[in-house]
């Protein structure tokens, strides 16, 4: 694409950022090939069995298990809602696709959290790491989600793996951010108290800071899962399978009916995952103690 250039702008240097990016990706593909193959194998090994499990067992079993989880975490009303919602999905033609989307979301967000939480701890404890991480996280969060798919295709080809990895990158930032925020918000005097009795840094972190930051970290977990779900649909564009495929196909064929069915399945999955992770945070004693303390104040 070119545009007519005003003479006033002619002194601006041309910056071939796109070309640089391309050559960087080319270089990475050429030299880091074995590394990417390894990553792909690991992701594949995680997604495939989970996918097979979720699509292999009867839909009724999955619905009952999730409803039971909902009962335990939130009570019978939510369990009933979960059963009805997922029952509706099971009654539509896209149950298998919904389950493979669920499998991808679970793997991508678990991997994202495994990286995000330790990173959040590092960033909270170390000012310099924080200064480096902040702009990188900003970039990761504001970059249009589709853009992640392009290098993912280069490195991993078409299929589930690039979808999951693009999802992982896209959903990680709030996990890091909220872990950092949660740790920084822990009452300074309580941290000092722990230190004043001679507790070493790891003990202060594990037994004081992390438990007190847990409610905020759990909000991060919830956000990561929600973002993963939104991205995993976009990843349908690279043939990741699941509901993304259904929706992309409906879009290209302008099929209102199946597009709506796929969309509703995403919404129901999102609501169930959101409420489940939201209330999981409340089950920790530290979360309850802090909520009580806030009510009293």
């Amino acid at each position: 694409m070119s545009r007519t250039q005003s003479p006033l702008d002619s002194w601006l240097p041309r910056v071939p950022l796109g070309a640089w990016t391309e050559s960087a990706v080319d270089w990475a593909t050429a030299t880091l090939g074995p590394f990417f193959d390894g990553v792909a194998a690991v992701v594949e090994a995680l997604v495939r069995p989970l996918n097979d499990l979720l699509t292999g067992v009867p839909a009724v079993v999955v619905v009952l298990v999730l409803a039971g989880l909902g009962w335990w975490l939130r009570g019978w009303k939510f369990a009933l809602g979960t059963a009805l919602g997922l029952g509706l999905v099971a009654g539509m033609p896209y149950w298998e696709e919904t389950m493979s989307t669920l499998a991808q979301v679970l793997v991508a967000s678990t991997l994202a959290l495994l990286m995000a939480i330790p990173l959040g701890v590092l960033v909270a404890e170390n000012k310099r790491a924080s200064a480096v991480a902040r702009p990188v996280l900003d970039l990761m969060q504001t970059m249009p989600a589709f853009v992640y798919l392009i290098p993912a295709i280069f490195f991993f080809g078409i299929g589930t793996v690039p979808g999951v990895l693009a999802t992982l990158v896209f959903s990680m930032p709030p996990g890091v951010r909220l872990t950092e925020l949660g740790l920084r918000q822990v009452d300074k005097e309580i941290v000092q108290a722990a230190e004043s009795f001679g507790a070493p840094p790891w003990m202060v972190l594990l037994r004081t800071k992390l438990p007190l930051a847990l409610p905020t970290i759990m909000t991060g977990v919830n956000q990561v899962i929600m973002l993963a779900l939104s991205m995993v649909v976009i990843a349908g564009m690279v043939g990741a399978g699941g509901l993304g495929d259904v929706i992309m196909f409906a879009l290209s064929q302008v099929e209102v009916g199946s597009g709506f069915e796929g969309g509703i399945a995403v919404v129901i999955l999102a609501v169930v995952l959101d409420r489940l992770t939201d209330s999981a945070g409340d089950r920790f004693p530290s979360a309850r103690a802090q909520r009580l303390a806030r009510q009293a104040a």
Partner: protein
């Protein structure tokens, strides 16, 4: 030998600390000395020794540097210059692991806002230092229980801090420090967040424990009453410098400079003591909706002739005497409303000085009512209490004044 020795201790925040220390060395005020430097001086040239078994109070207004000072005594803050020696060990040059060991074995701390861990029970909080020290669980439990027993909180061992009132929480904070078994106790504005009556109660408890345990206590406060009441010796801080160190009496009778003199201005002891420091817990308080029968019962049980009556939000309304209760009974009224009188009792605020109480006490037929800023009844002062407080505040015994006051007991009440 001293338990703790502090020499030429400085804490400068900001950059160019060397230059700042050099400019401050000749004793100029900090704003003048540091003009144009990107640095602020929190503690300037502090020198003192604390003897084993004494309560050493550091008193100063906010911003005087006392909280920074106390945090350098256990290395929570690294001093810019100078030396802190604990039991002969120079603390400023210790490596992190050695510093932690020293904290575990020699110094523990009590914090202004209690700093209890909300996710741990009272017992687990009290045993925190022992957990850090790696003691086995059974022994930890036993020693934490002992400490809770000392502060009278064993029944609350399995509750979370949230279930406790402010005064009780700070007693857990104290128990946590006592359980650590260290010789030295740092107390940073430990009682400042508590209500006046609770504060005095816990001060008494500290003095009792101290008589038994003989710890070395460094106590930070901005409250002159508290300093005089607790301190064997008092250091007065102003703008980062210690301006005088001495016993309460020395500071009262021989202030080092105008600032200290002003601080303890017209301490004529009746002015150090406030209504809050001599008041007693009101014996008979009833809500205005209580019936006359309840009032009659209250009067009979307390052997007094007056009941204090409060309304919505615990606001003080006035008093009801035997005669009025009798009248209400005869007229068959369901509650005290309409019989409450404000004529026979004077009210004062908690910070009214004792000197200003005389007139009120003389004119008030019943014990003077002490109200807080929201007009809630927080205590009463019978004439005899005022007199005995005065009698004890003779110049020979300036710190004995408040001991005459009968206290509420040491159990405290739940939130």
């Amino acid at each position: 030998m001293s338990a703790l020795i502090v020499q030429s201790l400085y804490k400068i925040f900001g950059s160019r600390a060397d230059e700042a220390v050099r400019r401050l060395a000749d004793g100029k005020p900090r704003t003048e000395a540091l003009a144009g430097l990107p640095a602020t001086a929190a503690v300037i040239d502090a020198n003192f020794e604390v003897r084993p078994g004494e309560i050493f109070v550091v008193m100063g207004l906010s911003g005087s540097g006392k909280s920074t000072l106390i945090r350098m005594l256990n290395g929570l803050l690294q001093p810019t210059r100078g030396s802190v020696r604990v039991d002969g060990v120079e603390l400023t040059t210790l490596r992190p692991a050695a510093l932690r060991k020293l904290r575990r074995e020699k110094i523990s701390m009590v914090f202004q806002h209690f700093a209890l861990m909300p996710h741990r029970t009272v017992l687990e909080n009290a045993g925190y230092a022992l957990e850090v020290a790696g003691l086995p669980k059974a022994e930890r439990r036993e020693r934490a229980m002992d400490a809770l027993r000392m502060v009278g909180l064993t029944e609350w061992a399995d509750n979370l801090p949230h279930d406790l009132s402010g005064g009780m929480r700070q007693r857990v904070g104290l128990a946590r420090a006592l359980a650590a078994g260290t010789e030295i106790l740092l107390m940073d504005e430990a009682f400042s967040a508590l209500d006046p009556l609770i504060r005095r109660e816990i001060q008494d408890q500290l003095l009792e424990l101290q008589a038994e345990l003989g710890k070395t206590i460094i106590f930070i406060t901005h409250d002159l009453n508290e300093a005089m009441r607790l301190g064997d010796r008092i250091a007065v801080m102003r703008d980062g410098r210690i301006v005088q160190i001495g016993t309460a009496e020395e500071i009262l009778t021989d202030p080092a400079n105008d600032y200290v003199a002003q601080f303890v201005a017209d301490v004529d002891r009746t002015r150090i003591l406030t209504a809050a420091s001599v008041m007693e817990k009101p014996q008979q308080v009833l809500d205005v909706n209580a019936g006359p029968r309840v009032a009659a019962k209250a009067l009979r049980e307390s052997q007094t002739s007056v009941v204090y009556v409060t309304g919505p939000m615990k606001r003080f309304l006035g008093t009801v005497t035997e005669d009025e209760v009798l009248r209400a009974l005869r007229e068959g009224r369901p509650h005290l409303d309409g019989y409450v009188s404000t004529e026979r009792v004077r009210t004062v605020t908690a910070d009214t000085s004792v000197a200003d109480l005389f007139a009120d006490c003389a004119e008030s037929q019943h014990p003077v009512a002490v109200l807080d800023e929201r007009d809630r009844l927080i205590g009463v002062i019978p004439r005899i209490t005022l007199l005995s407080a005065l009698a004890a505040a003779t110049p020979d015994e300036p710190t004995q004044g408040q001991d005459q006051v009968e206290l509420v007991g040491t159990k405290g009440e739940p939130a």
